[in-house]
Symmetry: C2
Subunit: 431 residues, 2 copies
């Protein structure tokens, strides 16, 4: 029985596994280092306390449990041996006849990995919870502080990177300060928080048209976000960021700039581009390995437009479904057709009730674009329960201006462990 | 303007702050080391993946934001200075005219603090998430393992302590294995998981009648839980537990045995009992300090029954409300009345749809008791949103046998950090 091994339970891997579910005489194994599929387009909502982790994540094994020929194993794949046709995971080896790597991407700090400590990125639930902790703790510490400089630093938030994630994060912080938190503090004015969005290029959302990009910039500025374009970060430390000679003093810096692909492709000896993505053939296979495929963020597919396809959910989903069909065709002795991406457009949201949407010749902005954004995202959320709960929660947040998940959860679960709390420099006295 | 300082935002502190909200000419400060009030009676549901943290926790400052005279500060109180009338927190000092300590309790390992690493207790959201991670990870590792001994160890769960929390945890693990997870695994039979509940005394739920206690034991056994009474733990390590000469090999041990009060009362020089609870006067004040009060789990109040009141939510809520009235009486020049606890009964739940309820001469068990348990708990959940979402989620879980929050979230948010995964001893090979 042919064995298909899929590494990664993201949009590509999950759609592939579903497409191969209950195919007779096929043994499918999906490996992932976490136990959950993550709906990444809404991850910023977890970071911004609008949603709980469980609302945008579903256990992979539960999503796939109805397919009796699919096995899910939680483990980290450490290497691929194309000669022996097996992958080596932390618990042991798994042999394959067909292998699909769909391991996604992670943040790239452009050679400055030491920045991660002070500027977390947003790719996993753990990172989202950490960002939430930092943002909410900054307000809490500002409330306890009496030094104007410390307060200013604590209430300054810097987001690095003007792509969709950066725009969504900056918009959400701006909105949270102005609406959600405004009434809750006594010593500070939460609405006076400063949010700076740094973009190295000439404009934010550069994959959109200039018109949509400037509309998004205007919407962000209405939420109090300052946009600095042409501002490449040169240093990040615990006190803030530097852009050449300028310095912004900030306790909370978030990273939404570059990404690089999983290193597994390069380690296997495949041809990769500068971002670590594996260069693939028109059928997503690796040159010289017709039964090894790459999908999603990890693939560099240039055969359609001459440029690599972007690392987005629609690309990954279509590639996953395409590979399921390809493997079924292979087994049935049919010839392979090349992958063809159907571009349905792109979208980004700015706070509640504003978005920009583009595709197929149309451009939309404002409330109606946001409704489209909302419908599309809810439609694609995996599993009815999540969809229903997310809709309830959003309806509630929208009507009440509250955020339901404003929890600061630390990393430490033991009582006697040292508590992590960045020291507030001065001692304050109240009487 | 008199200053009231409340330490702790649990049931006692929150009810007290609400009772003093918008009282003219009163300045109220509530200090807590977390930013959220936690509905502890449902914490085991978070540990058992039935609920998300945000559904049983609400930001204290959001709950109290409507009271303009109440200020909430997140900080850890390190000491109390009754001479200078101030508390010393990590961010500075806060002076008081009235002080109420309601800092709750934590787990006690009876002098074996080293057990905590291998047997986490359940008092905070962080601990609940950690327990969830351990329990779910045990199944995941068992699925990847091929050694029968390793699998057996991984699928054996030990709960230490036969009080309500231990009973709820053991019941929920038994139920999760038999119903929720049964279909999701391919290599292991999740339903064969072994759950052992250890109780040092002669019976579980010893605060209930013998009849209710034995009914609960029968219900637990139907869920596959083995109950070992008269079994005091003598050792816990990473491979399991020892009870005298006997040894249970288990990868997941949970602690629900003893508690001890916050050490703040003892450190302040107040008279405490063996569990660290401060012995209080009939008006909950500390002897010799008529304006310093203790409430909730931290208080040892014996004036009503001759024995200390139990550390439960109803006691804490009533004490909080009582102290609000007492302080208002004080300010108005009225004499203080002693605290009087109104006992409305007690309850414990065993899996879905079974519970035991006792009080005021009535004893109930089974489905109807569970409905009462459900209604009471939903009624007391703070905030409409949570209540509504929890009801939706429960209705869904009940009808579908699914658990919505089955996420394994690790403590590490950085990509390059070493990944925590207990090594599975043997290397397995699949082909």
């Amino acid at each position: 029985m042919p064995r298909v091994v899929i590494v990664g339970g993201g949009f590509a891997g999950l759609n592939l596994a579903k497409g191969l579910g209950n195919v007779a005489d096929l043994d499918v194994t999906l490996l992932d280092r976490t136990n959950h599929h993550l709906f990444q387009p809404l991850l910023y909502q977890v970071a911004m306390a609008g949603l709980s982790p469980a609302e945008i994540a579903a256990p992979i094994r539960s999503v796939l449990s109805r397919y009796r020929n699919v096995r899910v194993l939680q483990g980290e794949v450490q290497s691929v041996d194309v000669q022996r046709q097996c992958v080596c995971a932390d618990f042991g080896e798994v042999g394959y006849d067909y292998l699909v790597l769909a391991c996604g991407s992670r943040h790239s700090y452009f050679g400055h990995d030491e920045w991660e400590e002070n500027a977390p990125g947003l790719k996993t639930l753990e990172q989202a919870t950490e960002i939430r902790r930092r943002v909410l703790s900054a307000y809490e510490e500002a409330e306890c502080s009496t030094s104007p400089e410390a307060r200013k630093r604590l209430l300054t938030f810097v987001v690095v990177g003007g792509g969709p994630t950066g725009v969504e994060l900056a918009g959400a912080i701006g909105e949270m300060s102005r609406f959600t938190l405004a009434r809750d503090f006594r010593n500070i004015d939460a609405a006076s928080a400063r949010v700076v969005l740094l973009e190295a290029g000439p404009r934010i959302l550069n994959m959109f048209s200039e018109k949509s990009s400037s509309r998004a910039a205007r919407d962000l500025e209405q939420l109090g976000v300052q946009i600095w374009t042409g501002s490449a970060v040169t240093k990040i430390d615990e006190d803030g960021v530097e852009i050449g000679n300028e310095r912004i003093s900030s306790a909370t810096v978030l990273w939404a700039a570059g990404v690089k692909a999983s290193s597994l492709g390069q380690a296997a000896g495949f041809e990769v581009d500068r971002q670590g993505r594996v260069v693939v053939e028109p059928d997503l296979s690796v040159k010289g390995h017709p039964r090894v495929f790459i999908a999603g963020d990890q693939a560099n597919f240039t055969h359609q437009t001459g440029r690599p396809l972007p690392g987005t959910a629609p690309v990954a989903m279509q590639q996953g479904r395409y590979l399921a069909q390809l493997i079924r065709d292979d087994l049935a002795g049919r010839t392979r057709k090349p992958f063809q991406f159907v571009d349905k457009g792109q979208m980004a949201t700015i706070g509640r009730s504003r978005a920009v949407v583009e595709g197929g010749g149309y451009k939309l902005a404002g409330f109606f674009a946001w409704v489209i954004w909302l419908v599309v995202h809810i439609y694609y959320l995996t599993g009815f329960q999540n969809r229903f709960l997310v809709v309830s929660k959003w309806a509630w947040s929208y009507l009440s201006f509250r955020r339901g998940a404003r929890l600061i959860v630390t990393k430490e679960w033991r009582f006697n462990a040292p508590r992590e709390r960045p020291a507030v420099p001065e001692t304050t006295t109240r009487s």
